[in-house]
């Protein structure tokens, strides 16, 4: 299976509330509440670290889960978030990973 890389989209609004991320998609103003695990993956989505590494280094070290099952669940999660424009997913590292920064040019 190819590696997956994930990055936070710049087209969202987000705030942490009680350790969980509240995220609104700019695409459709839909609001999402990520649980602790989803929040952990979202925060680790720097475009440079593979999803497998995120699961190995972040998820499996903090939660008592079987590695292959965690990776499967994480992949389903990131694909769903990508459908809503919240995460960018690629089989290559995603450059300019800080997608929270808007473009530099101004009117």
């Amino acid at each position: 299976m190819p590696q997956l890389y994930i990055a936070r989209s710049g087209q969202i609004s987000a705030r942490e509330l009680d350790g969980e991320m509240m995220i609104m998609s700019a695409r459709d103003s839909q609001l999402f509440n990520l649980n602790e695990l989803g929040t952990l993956i979202w925060q680790a989505a720097d475009g440079a670290t593979s999803l497998e590494d995120i699961v190995n280094e972040k998820v499996c070290t903090q939660y008592d889960v079987e590695r292959s099952e965690a990776l499967e669940d994480a992949e389903a999660f990131v694909r769903e978030m990508a459908e809503h424009g919240i995460l960018l997913v690629s089989d290559q590292p995603i450059r300019a990973a800080n997608h929270n920064q808007p473009p530099a040019e101004r009117p």
């Binding site: 710049g10 087209q11 969202i12 609004s13 987000a14 705030r15 942490e16 509330l17 009680d18 509240m22 609104m24 700019a26 103003s29 609001l31 999402f32 509440n33 929270n100 920064q101 808007p102 473009p103 101004r106 009117p107």
Partner: protein, 355 residues
Amino acid sequence: MSSLLEEMDQRALERGIPLAVQFDLTYRCNERCAHCYLDHHDRGEMTTPEVMDVLDQLAEAGTFFLTFSGGEVQMRTDFFRVLEHARSLLFCVKVKTNALMIGKAEAERLRELAVESVQVSIYSHRPEVHDGITNLPGSLERSLAGIRLLREQGVKTIIVNVLMRQNLQDYPGVIALAKELGALFTVDPTVTPRMDGDRSILSLGISQADLREVFRTPELVGNVNEFCAPPKPADGETLNELPCSAGHTLCYISPYGDVHPCVQFPLAAGNLRARKFLDIWRHSPQMTAVRSIRARDLTVCSTCAHLGSCTRCPGLAYMEGSMRGPSRLDCAKSFARTGIPFADKLPKEQVELRP
């Protein structure tokens, strides 16, 4: 409100988080609307670094929804720098503007920065009426041009139609305009007193009879039966409810750094040039006083039949003399909706929205 948004609001309430903040960046404006409640002179606006610092503080405080308003926000030449900073902090940003200064580049930038929505007041589809209210010839044409550019970029745009005596008959034309432009439409039948307490502009508001008609117009209120339903009798739970979100999950910041519970509640709780936001939000006596009020503490309203369904605004009540007292503008609205007298027992002829 979606259930997730309700849950978010409840969690913010329990933790004392100012989830939604309106930040007026300037009171300066290029229009002079007849019903405006503001003084448009610059009396010492916060500088760009001061504004940026306030945004950092709001992000730290947990604010999610941030509305930039004014005055006209684009009267500040740093507006897009401020907006960029706000979006880099991941606020869900809404912008209120008259759209006069929105050209192609500005519309593109608003799309790139993924603002949640842009709200524009349109008073009439007829230039002579709209421009008569804004006191700026050509303003309707220019505002509509701005809205078209926003819509071409796919920016969610909301047209707000404030109803006054001068434009009451024109809302069908504004609804048609909104449809043509692909904008959302919302109506506001309330003219509020000026922030300095001057109530003379209330004379521009629509009459009680017209308000009753507005509240029975499905195009404006949706389901009339639901909207005008008689209030349910108040029980113990109703009496323990909060009067509104102001000072609980909602806050307002003026261009001069004054912190108020809400845009319509001119109770200065502190100034950001002297104190940190969270210090004012958590510890000011004014915010504490606002938060202490429950429905049972309202001097007149706690005995009113409308208690459980009234849109009573504590800020308007404050401007009338007491944040625990009634807001006559809302008494009039409750009466117009239901026909049921309210606790103040004012004779009907006195229950006008006019002063």
